[in-house]
């Protein structure tokens, strides 16, 4: 069974992941070179742990994830609901939940939980019915409202976009989306009325970053200078002045892309974008060929989150999108983000393994889950 599973591994997906890992660790090394070397060492350990988890996930039947879908979703939602009551305030927003041993952001958890529960619900159900439409709206709406109140408009939008992608491939006709969009102002108005002044202010700052030029504005300008000054071939490994002299904010987490852009130039950036493109494209292809409909929808949801993370993060550091605290997948420093994403990719790999040599779902005799 062991060798069989290994033989079924999607080598292309694995290669993309390992190349991104190598590139990511190199960039992280450059980012923390001047400062805390422990960060680099920790990230190496996270990768080792992550790859182990990845291998283990490859052996976990997909069916067990389907069983976890509802409990996982409901626990996440409960945690999210607890945040306003017992959560910690970080940087003006209440996002963190401290459970003694670990403190985490339920808004991060709920994204994956929502993908799982939507995939599970629509694996066996007809889209384009009023009932399922409202189930979808309720499943997305509950966490969305809670996250907006934190307030964290960025995460809310990522969550909603990913959900829309899943519902799209689940087969909803376009008119349902138009209906949802038509409904959203009413929901928006209702939520807006319940926001506190400071929450409204945060939302407005998100919509118009110019209103806070010394905060996020300064960081984005410095990041654009780093990217632009890198040029075609970059300033060279460990040679980036913006990095070395700490002009980049959060240079080992959210703004790590700028480090790559400054030191490796357009060349390095193109390689990374290509790797991301190939990885996610491969994931979509796995979704397309999945043996079960549950697998298809889940892999699509995971791909959607990866696409959004990548696009929003790079868009934000290059000044085309507002600053949202979104990590660059597999490259930004951070153990929990890395483990979460590597687990998600492990699930994708599991779907690929289970689908190997099987026909994609389409006929009545295919298992749905």
């Amino acid at each position: 069974m062991l060798t069989e599973t290994f033989q079924k591994l999607d080598k292309f997906l694995l290669l993309c992941l390992l190349l991104i890992a190598a590139l990511g660790l190199t960039v992280l090394y450059a980012a923390v070179y001047q400062g805390n070397h422990a960060i680099f060492q920790k990230q190496c350990i996270y990768w080792l742990v992550g790859l182990t988890v990845f291998i283990i996930i490859c052996f976990v039947p997909l069916r067990s994830f389907a069983l976890m879908a509802w409990p996982f979703y409901l626990i996440s939602l409960l945690c999210l609901a607890l945040v306003p009551i017992i959560g910690d305030v970080h940087m003006g927003a209440r996002r963190w939940l401290d459970l003694g041993l670990v403190s985490f952001q339920p808004s991060e958890m709920i994204k994956w939980a929502l993908m799982l529960v939507l995939a599970h619900w629509f694996a066996s159900r007809e889209p384009n019915t009023w009932k399922n439409f409202f189930v979808a709206v309720a499943l997305c709406g509950a966490p969305a409202v809670l996250i907006v109140m934190q307030p964290d408009l960025g995460t809310t939008l990522v969550l909603l976009f990913a959900a829309i992608v899943v519902l799209m491939v689940a087969g909803f006709a376009w008119k349902w989306f138009f209906a949802a969009i038509a409904m959203s102002p009413i929901l928006g108005y209702f939520v807006w009325g319940h926001l506190h002044g400071y929450q409204k202010q945060r939302v407005l700052t998100f919509i118009d970053p110019q209103s806070d030029p010394l905060g996020a504005g300064y960081h984005v300008i410095q990041s654009m200078i780093a990217i632009g000054s890198g040029g075609i071939f970059g300033k060279g490994f460990l040679e980036g002045t913006q990095v070395r002299l700490h002009f980049l904010p959060e240079q080992h987490t959210d703004f790590i892309f700028s480090v790559l852009a400054e030191e490796a130039g357009l060349l390095g950036v193109t390689i990374l974008l290509a790797l991301y493109g190939l990885l996610i494209s491969r994931m979509l292809s796995i979704a397309n060929h999945a043996h079960t409909r549950f697998g298809s929808l889940l892999v699509t949801g995971i791909s959607a989150i990866f696409i959004l993370y990548t696009f929003v993060n790079i868009g934000m550091v290059s000044g085309v999108l507002p600053v949202v605290g979104v990590p660059l997948p597999f490259i930004s420093y951070g153990g929990s983000a890395l483990l979460t994403m590597i687990t998600a990719l492990g699930i994708v790999m599991r779907v690929s393994i289970e689908s190997k040599g099987m026909i994609p779902w389409q006929r009545a005799n295919n298992p749905l889950v």
């Binding site: 694996a123 066996s124 159900r125 007809e126 889209p127 992608v165 799209m168 491939v169 689940a170 087969g171 410095q222 654009m224 200078i225 780093a226 990217i227 632009g228 000054s229 890198g230 040029g231 075609i232 002045t241 913006q242 070395r244 002299l245 700490h246 002009f247 852009a261 130039g265 357009l266 950036v269 193109t270 974008l273 290509a274 991301y276 493109g277 996610i280 494209s281 979509l284 292809s285 979704a287 397309n288 409909r293 298809s296 699509t300 791909s303 959607a304 696409i307 990548t310 696009f311 790079i314 868009g315 290059s318 085309v320 779902w361 389409q362 006929r363 009545a364 295919n366 749905l368």
Partner: protein, 601 residues
Amino acid sequence: MLNQLNVRARFETRITLLQLSLLLLMLILLSRMVYLQWMQHDGLMLQAEQNRLNIVPILPTRGSIQDRFGEGLAVNHVSYQISMMPERVDDMKKTMAQLIGFMHWSPRQIRRIQKRIKKSRKDRPVLLADKLTWQQVAPLSARLHHLSGIDVKAGTHRYYPYKELTSHLIGYLSLARPEDVRRGFLRSEHVGRSGLERIFEQRLHGVLGNQQEEVDAFNRRVAVLNQSPPRMGENIHLSLNIRLQQAAAKAMKGRTGAVVVMDVHTGEVLTLLSTPGIDTNHFTLGLEKEEWSSWLNNPQRPLLNRTVQAAYPPGSTWKMVTAFAGLRHHSQLARGHTRCHGYVQLADRKLRCWKRTGHGKVNIHDALQHSCDVYFYELADQLGMPALRQEALAWGFGKKTGVLLPRESRGHLASPLQQLSHGRKRTWVRGETMITGIGQGQTTVTPIQMARFAAAIANGGDILKPHLELGKAPEIIRHVEVKPDDLKRVREAMYAVANKPGGTAYYRLRHAAWKIAGKTGTAQVVAMSQNDAHKSKVPTEDAHKDHAWFMGYAPYDHPKIAFAIVIEHGGHGGSSAGPVALAMIQELKDEEDQRTRSHAH
């Protein structure tokens, strides 16, 4: 149950759609990168360089100001400043408590410092205290490595060792104001605000240097790339003799007035003292508001440089001007004599001599020696205003002397014509001409004009431009033609004032170290409401007391120095201003003796 076939087709289209969207998004990001890294590269590269490079000015050392013997009058003292980088402070409360323990700040200073920290950026150094001595910072610097974010740096500040003595002459500095910044000064630079610090600003200041540094995002220096050192300002050597100034100040102690001493041949100013003065070090050491306003509101006006900015009625010292006018115009009286009965009777009023009983028969010599008013009433009456005014102008009155000091007053010469044109209702009366002849009325002169007049008498009629720089070539503004005989008569009379029994300063000055030729003056205060030196609120018992003048030169036979001393409300010129001259002459004599002794060795 779901019919899978129904949704399969749509699923596949939408996966394809997603694949295309992915491609599109990646292309959007790529085109943004091409835009930034290729098309905008040059501009952003420049910005990165500007980020990284910091041109830091290096302030030049300001030149010092020294007296004629090289004694420092304005010097630079090493001082220390304490600054804090708030973001690097571990525990603000504890750090502040420790700082307060070391520095012994008053609660008010603590509040001010805390306010400053609160208002400043966290990643920039905040100045907590400066102008500190080594003794003050030593305990702190010994513990500095335990206090992260605190920095002690050495610098210099301006110091004026002679404090009140030179405050008017030297002036003071202050940090550049917005108008100075527009003129090209840096905010952190000090600029001469008054006195010679202001006049010689350009020469004293020096030239800024700069240093090209690589800095990080917190503006911390990472490396020095390039340096062009500053050029120190010029040291200015003054002609001033600070020991003479000290002697004058000692003799003036507690009195309000001015002393000017100048070299009769070169015009070099040896003493320029205005009392009371202020300790200008308070400006550099941080002036308290109360202190400043107490100076402003002090009735003795310590901020006024009386040597050049205040004009006083000359009183009897003016009699020399009237005498020269009489001699020049071959007035009968100047060659002859008159009889003083103690007053002159005019149609409507009686003009009195200071000596009620009268001086009897007086010629020009006696009239100057005894300062007889009646003689000069009559002389002035004979000469008339145009001649008197002409003479005054010739000796340099009514005009600025051109000494390099700010806001010099030109004084005022009485003039009937000018007053009519200025809308005076009453016509000029004869009595006014007569009192002008003895230096009362509307005439006012500055002490430096008076000293220059004394110098001109001593040097034979050369009106010099008084100057303060040692070794500068003398500048003769004009030569007043006086017949040697006439000059001799006036000089002899001035000699008699100090050296012959009956001379108005004889009693005080007969034992002077050098023989003095001089003239006392007692200027009435009551009749001079329009005098600009006197809008002050002096205590009433003093307000009516006369101003005392003493002017002259010494030694009599080979003059070296000329002087003018005025003491506000000093009373009689000979007895109150005379001793100041005496003290100064003694000092000069001592210095001369010392020089001859050291030459002999």
